[in-house]
């Protein structure tokens, strides 16, 4: 189980506990956190689950594969070096305390 913090563009934060084998995207859906659309349901197609991992993050996130990298070219908000698809971030103990920032828009 991991505590995940979603920070909205207006500054409010939502902190939820998410269990494996969910993803950061599904953690948001299961806990009614707004701001992640996930139109393709987590199949790395749509780019509407885009998040920015906090700059100060030191938690071990999985390497980005080429599909995720490609999908991130299409996000509605600017891609940065902190951009990830939240549907490609599996939740486990090792990412307990992860902070992600939500973009202004997903589509």
């Amino acid at each position: 189980m991991a505590k995940i913090t979603y920070k909205h563009p207006n500054g409010t934060v939502t902190i939820v506990d998410v269990q494996a084998p969910n993803t950061v995207m599904r953690g948001a859906k299961l806990n009614n956190v707004d701001g992640i659309e996930a139109q393709c349901g987590g199949s790395a197609q749509c780019g509407t689950c885009h998040v920015y991992v906090d700059e100060a993050n030191t938690l071990p996130l999985p390497e980005m594969d080429s599909v995720e990298d490609d999908v991130l070219y299409g996000t509605a908000c600017e891609r940065t070096e902190f951009s990830r698809l939240s549907c490609q971030l599996p939740v486990g103990d090792e990412i307990d305390g992860l902070l992600v920032h939500l973009p202004e828009a997903q589509s």
């Binding site: 409010t12 953690g27 299961l30």
Partner: protein
């Protein structure tokens, strides 16, 4: 707006998203979501893909956990049906006998599979796929030893079912009346490549052939399919995927304007300004197509929901979102951005044999849409270009070494004004979901 009541007919993707979009916009009135498909709003795309293959569990299909509806104060009435509308008195009558008043009514009734107009179409073992119950039934039938499955219709659902069933080791035949697969949706380049993939994987694909009859055994179970010309093929199971019909009956009975779908204006209002329609059941004016269209996709349902919610909240805008769609068959990830048809010129980039390519479609020298197979960056960038209205000429795409990824990123303004979440406090919740 405190006393405002919105009744949403149909708790599918479009109805569900409308309720969500209203709350994210800060709408405080009453929201009632009525759906005849228990257990509640669920996500259809996996039903022909991962759910059918057994890799996606039933819990993952629900659009939200039950707590969502209480928390968001959305009154969900699953397992009930709206029987009629009374526009004069602004009420709906449910099959349970309940009568509900509305200020705004939202028709999100979706569509249903067309049936096969041939003798024998109602035999046991002849199925169509729309809801969770259909998918459960089909999944069960495909979970045993290899069977002879015949899929009628080489559209997205038919081909996805064929790919999934083939992956599970079944003997699969696809019969399509048109001379090519996905004829309405895709360019010949892409549809031919997809058919080639199916054939390579051992699926028999019969194009330009019509089913004339189905015959069953003594117990009424389908056994044989007859095609035009008299050819007969053995079948233990038949899946019919020959398109859908919009659910327009309620609108029709209430004297709303209907065509192939409930006809709406740019803001998705029906001929009664208090009533909206969206998703699979709605026929709307598309500035991109230059005519009224009906679109069957998650993107369409979800983006139209934001448009309806904005209008209900008194901030209407015209629906202009770039349509997009995806399909998954074997290892092919197909994505379509924009409306590719009609077009008068196409340019293909990438490697067809390798199954990594994009077909850029142009009309009068302007980009109308892009079909991508295993080129997700092309798809995403094309969606951004189409949203921003950025020009891309066929000549540019034809240049050697052309790569969308190297184009400077165009600033895009979101197609739909998004409301920022109305939370003001830190919320901490414990998730009980495994």
């Amino acid at each position: 707006m405190a006393a405002h009541a919105v009744v949403v007919v149909g708790a599918g993707q479009a109805g569900f998203e409308t309720a969500c979009a209203l709350r994210s916009r800060g709408f405080r009135g009453r929201i009632t979501l009525i759906g005849d498909e228990p257990p509640g709003p669920s996500y259809r795309p996996p039903l022909s893909k991962g759910y059918l293959a057994g890799t996606v569990a039933a819990e993952e299909i629900a659009l939200r956990p039950p707590s969502f509806y209480t928390e968001q104060d959305i009154e969900l009435l699953p397992g009930d049906r709206v029987a009629s509308l009374d526009r004069e008195r602004r009420t709906v009558l449910l099959e349970s006998g309940l009568r509900l008043p509305y200020d705004n009514l939202v028709l999100a009734t979706g569509s249903r599979p067309r049936s096969l107009p041939v003798p024998g179409a109602s035999l046991t073992g002849v199925l169509s796929l729309r809801g969770l119950a259909d998918a459960e039934d089909l999944r069960l039938r495909l979970s045993g030893p290899p069977r002879r499955l015949v899929v009628v219709g080489a559209g997205f659902i038919g081909l996805e079912v064929a790919a999934t069933a083939r992956g599970l080791g079944h003997d699969v035949t696809v019969v399509e009346a048109q001379p090519r697969a996905l004829a309405r949706a895709l360019t010949p380049t892409t549809s031919d490549r997809i058919v080639a993939e199916h054939r390579e994987r051992g699926v028999r694909v019969l194009l330009g052939r019509e089913v004339t009859a189905l015959f069953g055994d003594a117990e009424g179970r389908v056994q044989v399919m007859e095609l035009d010309g008299g050819e007969r093929i053995a079948a233990d199971l038949v899946v019919v995927g020959v398109g859908v019909l919009p659910n327009i009956e309620l609108a029709l009975a209430a004297d709303l304007l209907v065509g192939d779908g409930v006809v709406v204006d740019a803001q998705l209002r029906t001929s009664d300004p208090d009533i909206f329609a969206l998703g699979d059941c709605a026929r709307f004016p598309s500035p991109r197509a230059g005519r009224h269209v009906r679109v069957e996709s998650v993107q369409n349902a979800s983006d139209q929901a934001k448009c309806v919610a904005a209008a209900v909240c008194g901030e209407p805008y015209a629906y202009t979102a770039v349509p997009w769609f995806w399909s998954e068959q074997y290892a092919l990830r197909l994505q379509i951005a924009g409306l590719t048809a009609p077009h008068d010129e196409t340019v293909t980039v990438g490697d067809l044999a390798d199954g990594k390519f994009s077909v850029f479609c142009f009309r009068g020298g302007r980009l109308t849409g892009v079909e991508s197979v295993n080129r997700p960056a092309d798809h995403g960038i094309a969606r951004r270009l189409l949203t921003a209205g950025t020009d891309l000429s066929p000549g540019t795409v034809r240049e050697p070494g052309f790569d969308l990824k190297r184009l400077p990123r165009t600033p895009t303004t979101p197609t739909t004004p998004t409301a920022s979440p109305s939370r003001t406090t830190i919320q901490e919740r414990l998730s009980v979901h495994a």
